[in-house]
Subunit: 279 residues, 2 copies
C-alpha cells in the first residue's frame, strides 16, 4: 500500500475536493442543490484513472462519505458533514458565537460573521445576513485572503511574527485599490489591532463595503477566531458599530472560557476615528 502523496487516503481527499471546485458548485446565494458529479467527472477532475475513481467512489458511497442520488450522480454525504461538524473546532466556536451573532444581527442588521485562520486564508464558519443587506463576498466554509479582510487582519495580528512575515513576504493581491499590500503599512496596521483590540477596514475587500472585526479568545487566552461585521461604505461612519461588535466578541470569548480580566480587556475607550484608508 502506498504511503506517499498518492496513497489511497490522498486520492480519496482529492475525490472529496472535486466537489469544492467552482464549476461543481451548485448552491446559489439563495440556497439550492448541493454540487453533484458523475463518477466520470470525478475521475477527470481528480486526475485519476476511471477504474480507480469508480472503485474509490463506490467505497466512499458505501461508507456514507458520498451519496449517490436516484440520478446516479454523486454528492457529499450528510454523514461526512456530521462527522466533520460534530467534532470540529468549528462547532464549539459556532455554538459560543451564534447567540451573540444573532443579537448583533438583530441590532445592526448587517452581515455578521465569524472566521478562523486556515493556512494563510480566513475560513468563515458562520454568517448571518438579511436578504436586503449590502454586498459581502464572505461565505460559510468559504475562504478569503487574510490581508484584505477585517477578519483576516485581526487573526494575522495575533499570529507569531514569523508567520506574519511569511504572509507579508508573499504575493499580496489588491482586491480593490484600497487593499493595503505594502508590508510596512500592514505591520503598522497589525500593531494597531493588537493595541486597540479591533480593526476597521474600509473597502479593502470590495469597494462597496467596510469590514469591522474584533478578536475571539479561548480558555488559554489565545485568539482563535475573529467576529466581524460587513456594512455598506455609503451609510456613514462605521465606527458606531464598534462598541456593540467588541462587546459581542468579548461575550463569545467568555462563552469560550476565556479569562476576561482587566488585563485582558480590549482597549476600546474612545473608539478613535478611522484614519485615512485603514485604521
Amino acid at each position: 500500500m502506498p504511503t506517499t502523496g498518492d496513497s489511497v487516503l490522498s486520492r480519496a481527499m482529492r475525490i472529496l475536493r472535486t466537489f469544492n471546485g467552482p464549476d461543481a458548485a451548485g448552491a446559489g446565494p439563495e440556497g439550492g442543490p448541493a454540487p453533484s458529479l458523475t463518477a466520470s467527472e470525478i475521475s477527470r477532475r481528480a486526475g485519476l484513472p476511471v477504474a480507480t475513481a469508480h472503485r474509490l467512489v463506490g467505497e466512499l458511497v458505501a461508507l456514507g462519505a458520498l451519496e449517490r442520488g436516484p440520478d446516479k450522480r454523486v454528492r457529499v454525504g450528510y454523514r461526512l458533514w456530521e462527522i466533520a461538524s460534530r467534532s470540529s473546532p468549528a462547532r464549539g466556536l459556532s455554538r459560543a458565537a451564534l447567540p451573540y451573532m444573532e443579537d448583533l444581527q438583530a441590532v445592526v442588521r448587517e452581515h455578521t460573521q465569524i472566521g478562523v485562520l486556515e493556512g494563510t486564508d480566513v475560513l468563515y464558519l458562520e454568517r448571518l445576513s438579511r436578504p436586503e443587506a449590502g454586498r459581502n463576498v464572505a461565505e460559510v466554509a468559504g475562504r478569503l485572503p487574510v490581508h484584505a479582510t477585517s477578519t483576516g487582519l485581526v487573526l494575522l495580528a495575533h499570529e507569531p511574527a514569523e508567520f506574519q512575515e511569511r504572509v507579508l513576504g508573499g504575493r499580496l493581491h489588491a482586491a480593490t485599490p484600497h487593499t493595503v499590500t505594502d508590508p510596512a503599512r500592514l505591520r503598522r496596521l497589525l500593531a494597531g489591532i493588537r493595541r486597540d483590540g479591533f480593526v476597521v477596514s474600509p473597502r479593502t475587500m470590495t469597494p462597496e463595503s467596510v469590514g469591522l472585526a474584533a478578536p475571539v479568545r479561548d480558555s488559554d487566552n489565545r485568539v482563535v477566531a475573529a467576529l466581524s461585521l460587513v456594512v455598506p461604505f455609503e451609510t456613514g461612519d462605521p465606527r458606531r458599530y464598534l462598541p456593540v461588535l467588541v462587546a459581542a466578541a468579548r461575550g463569545v470569548s467568555r462563552a469560550m472560557g476565556a479569562p476576561v480580566s482587566r488585563e485582558n480587556m480590549i482597549r476600546t475607550q474612545g473608539f478613535r476615528p478611522v484614519r485615512d484608508g485603514t485604521e
Copy 2:
C-alpha cells in the same frame, strides 16, 4: 489493497468517528474546545493496531483531515469541515433556512431548528436558541429518533410506505411516557401530517417541551427537511406558533426552489386544536 469493510478508507472513517464518541466530546452547550484524542486513544477506540492507527493518523494529519495541536493531541481539522460543509446538501438548506429561522427565532424566541433524515434518525443541521430558552436535546450535527421528535415525524410522513413500515416495525423507544410507539397510532399520526402539513408533538422527546414541525420541499417538490420549534410545555397552547412556523417553512421551500402552487399549499386552515397526546 483490501476493498472489504476493513479497507484503508473504512479504517480512516473509523478513526474519524472516534472523535464523535460520547466521552471524546469536549464541547459543552456553551461552546468549548473540540474533542481531542491521543494517537493511542484513537487506536484503542477504533480497534486498530497501534502502528496502523499511528500511520493513518499521520496521513490524515498530513492531508489536513485531522490536526495535531501543540499538546500532540489530535482533533478533526478545519479542512475536513470545510470540504464537508462547502459541498454538503446541508449547506444549501442552511443558507435557504437561516434567514427564516432568524425571523422565527426573533418572533417566537424559542428553539428554532432544521433537520433531515439520515438513516432512520433525524440529523439536525442548524439550531438557533436563546440562552434563556427551555430544554431542548437537539444539537447541531446531533441525531434523535424519528418517531419521538416533531422533525422526525414530518420527515417520516413523507417517506415511501416501505421505509415507514421498516421504522414502525423496529424497536421504538419511549423517550417519555408521551412518546407514541404504537405502530397503528403512528400510522394515523403520519397520515395526519400529510393531510395537515404540520405536526404538534407534545412531550414526546422530553416531558418539558412540545415540538412543532412543518415540511421543507426542494425544487422537485420532495420533502427534504423539516423546520421545527421546541417550546416549553407549560406556556399555554403551542398551536399559536403554527401559522408563523408553517409560513417560514413555505419560505424556506420557496428559497429551495420548490414550486409553491395552490396544489402544493399546506392545508393549515384553522390549525385545529391539539388532540389528546399528539395530533
